[in-house]
Symmetry: C2
Subunit: 191 residues, 2 copies
């Protein structure tokens, strides 16, 4: 069992509706030492890639993305959620559906910060149905840049996002993959 | 002139309506080395305070708050913007008006992560009219915790947030204070 799986067992809480609360260390209160360990682990797994930029989506991916970008020595860019398309043509736009909030958001990134010669490592805290990742991939593709890989802290293996991303040929690295969660007993099983 | 003022002169862009765009290094694309330098500078300025937690508000404060929290060796907590009050009583809630977006948001923080014995350093990327800071201070006060200081990367000295915060007796440390900006010439003057 790795460091993140151990921490999930220690402090994660299973809630009804396939929700795993990790807000005491990953996405509300942040344990910076853990976040940095996640950053170093992604660097180890993608060290052979010519990464020029780390891309994530606000808000809870930002801390992890900073730590990864520090390891690679490259800038971090976070896509912003938006209600309306900024129609000045200065931004790439994609549509993302949130699993937890059950609503659609637009995500945008300024064209200045994704260029055709960029090699992008996309990171996020969670992967469930993959809609956020799909949106981020669309942004990179719109810029004609290269997706070098997908780094996820916690993948819900019982939803199909990971399956779809691997099927599309992306190198998807999830540090903890949850096989199942029992909301009655609170038991968590990793793949 | 300090490191952040130099960077603002080099890469900041003055836009109509007293808007300073620093999205190439501070709040859309992030220069991690610069963010870490900001974190170390806040640590230097608040090193004598018994800080137990760093608090910010999503999204653009998160990167800076991570770097500060790393220096102090304490957790970072970010308040979340919300449309609706979560009425399960598990969160502290405050109202914040955004200067740029001209709209009101609720900001919430889980009661689990702010406790009466916490000594909180509040940080953010920008200070204009101080509404975001006021909201964060309200959250700390609701928890009966102690505000140890306010750390701001860029203060707009021509708006009254900084004046009000210092008048209230808080130790407010802004790394760059903008005295004036000329949207015609693009000239920026620091205090």
């Amino acid at each position: 069992m790795n460091f993140l799986e151990e921490r999930i067992l220690k402090d994660g809480i299973v809630k009804p509706g396939s929700v795993l609360k990790v807000d005491s260390f990953l996405n509300h209160q942040m344990d910076i030492a853990l976040i940095d360990q996640i950053g170093k682990e992604f660097y180890r797994r993608f060290a052979d890639k010519p990464v020029t930029k780390v891309l994530t989506i606000e808000s809870s991916g930002i801390a992890i993305a900073c730590s990864v970008a520090r390891e690679f020595g490259v800038p971090m860019v976070f896509a912003k959620k938006s209600k309306s398309v900024n129609i000045d043509g200065e931004a790439y736009v994609a549509e993302v559906e949130s699993f937890v909030q059950k609503k659609k958001n637009l995500v945008i990134v300024s064209k200045k910060f994704l260029r055709a010669d960029d090699h992008v490592l996309i990171v996020d805290d969670f992967l469930a149905n993959g809609c956020a990742l799909q949106g981020l991939i669309s942004l990179v593709e719109a810029a004609e840049a290269t997706v070098e890989g997908l780094g996820i802290a916690i993948e819900k293996g019982f939803q199909d996002g990971g399956y779809r991303m691997r099927n599309l040929g992306y190198q998807l690295e999830s540090i903890a993959i949850i096989e199942s969660m029992d909301e009655k007993t609170g038991e968590i099983t990793f793949r």
